[in-house]
Amino acid sequence: EQLDEDAREMIRQQDRRRQQAGGRFGAEDTNEDSVADMARDIEKRHTMQRRTVDRNILDRGTGEIGTTGDETFGGPSYSAVSQQSLVPSVSDPSLWMFSCQTGKEDELVYQIMNKCIAYAAQGKPLGITSAVAAQTKGKIYVESYSEPAVIEAMQGIRNLMQYSMRLVPINDMTTVMTVVPKKKPVKKNDWVRLTRGHYKGDLGLVKSVRDSGLKCVVQCLPRLDLTLSDLPAEDARIRRRTVRPPQKFFNAQEIAALGKHALRQRFPGMGDVFCDYFESNYYHDGYLLKEFTVGTMVKPCGEDEPPTLDELQRFRKRQKSASDTNYDDDNDGENEGSKRAASLLDELSELQGKTGLGVKSEESKGGLIIGDTVEVIEGDLVGLTGKLISLDGTTVKVKPNNAADLGDMTEVEFLVGQVRKLIPVGAHVKVTEGRYANETGIVVAVEQMEGETDCTAVVLTDMTLKEISVRTSQLQESAEVASGHDKLAGYELHDLVVLSGGGSANEVGVIVRVGREEFTVINNHGIVREVRPEELRGKRNASSGRAVALDVQGNQIRVGDSVSVAEGPHKGKTANIKRMSRAQLFLYSQTRTEHAGIFVVRSRSCVLAGSRTQTRGNADPGASPFSTPRSQSGGAPGGARGNKRDDGLVGKTVRIQAGQWKGYLGSVADATPSHVQVELHSRLKKVMVLREKVVVVGDKFGATEDLNRSNVPGDINMNAPTTPFLSGGATPMHGGATPMHGAATPMHEGGGYTPSHTGGADDVWRPGGSIDQAPVADLADNTSSWGGTDTSQQADPFSSGTPVADTGGWGASNEPAASTWGPSTINNNDDSSIANASLATAHVQPESQIQGGFDGGTSAPMPSNEVDAAMGDAGEEAAVWFMERVCVQLNGGASSAIIREINADKSAVVEMEDKSTKVVRPSELSMIQPKEHDMVLVTGGADVGVEGELVCIDGSDAILKDSNEDFKIVDFVHLAKIVSDA
């Protein structure tokens, strides 16, 4: 019998030893043979007994194994039950724990063993039964029946702290003996992580295993520091310690360029693998090949620390070239390499699958969900397909599809491992987990990789129409169509983004797909590409929303408008403008599936579609391409407000005639009764100016309007700023010729301002008028025609000559206004005590245009020719010195005069030396050069506005003393002689 043979073999072996050992003392014993025989007898019996016991245990063990269904007979698993029977009892020896130096545990155990052997050989056994070094660091355990034996045995053992002896409670003894296998064998093509030294933490791929698994050759990314050899030894040592060179593929050319040389050598023991041998390391195809010790230097990548995508990506960069060369002797690795799909990412996902990462958890259920179609892959019913109807822990119940063939079995139970999810080609699936989670698509192929239970399905995705390979366990049949993610790194679908890289500095694009870790972007040239979030430089949605472009007809189009494409590849399509960047429109059409409906068209290739074109076209028939959107947009509401107030001014180009912005051109953006908001052409600014301080110089596009046209009565408002006061004055004379001037003052349209000339006003007016009129008539020689007229006559031309004034709107508020003005007029007349006091009154308050209206009557006596002249000259630009109080010369003669008043139409009232006044135009005047000790006014330069006494003239400079007795030096040309206030 075999067992007996075993036993006999053992015995024989032991006998052999015994004989060897016994040689020393054999001679002494006279009855050696008999003793030996007897001993052998005992021994044999003893062994036999033990053996039988063993066999019983064995039989029991195998029986148990059989019941648990372990696949191999005599399978190596001791059942938990039999192990349970081995727990220590009180009759077993006790265990003592000793502390020792960490890392010396093994050594100590061997040392103790050696000591015991030595003592046993001397016949003085130490009395300890075992010594254990398990996985507790810095602890060893000694087992013995007696404590003194342990103490004695441990005497004199170095690195052991004898004093730390402690009894292990009997319950904890099994805990001591539990170890977790830490060292794990690695297999070829396993992913491993290097755990020590230069490459600590790096990822490697096992290329071959040696020394029955103790050593392995690992392929990893080199971390070469080429500067090391150039440094002095000391620095190199420090650098080696402190600087960890980055991972970089080995490049022989690079080495050669540094003047170093890599030798071509075979990697020892790897067949015909030619490597670059450099600085005692082997590099093959850029990778480092190095032998490591398994367990200590290299650990397999477990589930807890799987290779990251990034690492794999870095690692994989050059794998294709590696597969070209004859790398492995067998084709295993080659096939694997060639199998790697074209796309790197697919490769990675496959590799991740290959390394078995995350398979474990799947394996438990295989991604099965109730209702799945499954296929039996093991057992008698292999090949059977059916529907999963229940699922619990380890078993599944399947309803066979061809139940009739199986005697109408409604359900069959299988182990989870015996079934596999069945995904037919053509099924529409959804990826439930992994890299492509939530993608959907159609299965175009299913293939089984060798040595794997799981199938890999090739799925054509709905979103990107890319083929991805996914394990079937990660798939689920579903009708759902993924719309993709909607957000990644703060970017969303249809965002206008600035792209970096790609050469052009200002490439922009619109996101048409948000992937798991990348976007698909259509750029301004219509080119679609994938970008990573890092490549994006921010959104431009806001500026896109503000932008305005022009279509082929010159219509303004902006985001949200619907346009139809007039030319190009997209001709005929109608779409909404989703985003725009300069002249490129990113159009969105719901009917397009490609690129999420986005396509790119130049704005000039589009026509604004829809009703908005018409309305806008009607509103601005001559919409100019040059006009800014602002003025346009301003125009529309302005027009809308038009009925509230006549604001024909809005949109017109005007020149500002006074104030800080004097001389600036701008277009009127808005208007109030008193002010207009002018958007300056030359500055990015809008200013509010008084309505009368602007003059219309053109239409809203800047074209100069025909002056005649502006004089048409219908356009009265245009002339608002012009000569309000003259208008009134002219009226009586010229009858209907100039009524518009009177009405032209914008104020007059606002009822409250106009102490109207209608009936009510007349009551007030007449007395004042008659008071005023008398002296005027007396003084002015040339008003003879007036002389005879009485006030009633004067009233007549008013009422008749200003038909506008009779409009109902005027009368409303004339009463208070009139009462206000009446007294002031009178006062002024008293103060000035000159014939045309009323004129002066009007002039000192030029802003109160109302008075113009009033005084129109009083100024009427003026010579008609002068009035005409003044009016004709209205547009003329005045010189800088053309100000009140300036001493002037009338060009006609040498007579000097003082400008007393400047009218709104630029004509001036001058006071002659004989105190008579004249209305003159600026062109008829010239400035009198100031002389020393004259009072002067600075009209230009830094000190403009300063008045003072001219002290002396020095060439082109003049020194003057101002009212504060300060001396100022100004350009002489900026001086104008004035009369002193006194």
Partner: protein, 181 residues
């Protein structure tokens, strides 16, 4: 006679195996009988008196002590392998030179190839078993039927298919376990 032997041995703790004679009375009895046979004149006295005398003791050494004296310990700290069947630890050289004392049928002696196949470097923990029959550790590790030596607590690995079959035919069990990931 039994009583006296127990009494006499109890006084000397150098012989734990003898101290346990009561547990294996049959052995005791045989031993006593043999002792009586070989030296009837000074039977019991001799056992007591001859203790300190080494030469005399050697031949009467109990089995366990003798086995212990013959035990092998790994001769180096590195390159230690474990027999996949019994889990005994030795260096590869030791395996090649001596084979495995527990598993002679693996025929590792002078067969480096077989040594590589039947031993593994993937093991965890060491237990030096001085007395496999008595030690609980040995029992726990199921090496109680083997010879004294240093054993691994857990052995990772698998036998070749044919070796496995051979062992199965022999009705042997083995200690190595396939690695679990």
């Amino acid at each position: 006679a039994k009583l006296s032997i127990r009494h006499s041995t109890n006084s000397n703790h150098h012989y734990p195996s003898i101290a346990l004679l009561d547990q294996r009375l049959e052995d005791c009895w045989l031993l006593v009988k043999s002792l009586l046979l070989c030296s009837s004149a000074h039977c019991l006295d001799d056992i007591n008196m001859s203790y300190p005398r080494e030469e005399e003791e050697e031949e009467e050494l109990p089995q366990q002590v003798a086995d212990l004296a013959q035990a092998t310990v790994p001769s180096a700290l590195r390159g230690i392998r474990s027999c996949k069947r019994c889990g005994i630890l030795k260096t590869l050289d030791q395996f090649i030179n001596e084979g495995c004392e527990n598993c002679p049928f693996l025929e590792m002696t002078d067969n480096p190839e077989k040594c590589n196949l039947c031993t593994t470097a993937f093991f965890e923990g060491q237990a030096a078993i001085m007395d496999p029959r008595e030690s609980w550790t040995a029992k726990w590790l199921r090496v109680d039927s083997y010879l004294p030596g240093v054993y691994a607590i857990s052995v990772t690995g698998q036998f070749n298919r044919d070796i496995e079959e051979e062992l199965e035919n022999r009705g042997c069990r083995w200690r190595c376990r396939a690695a679990q990931n």
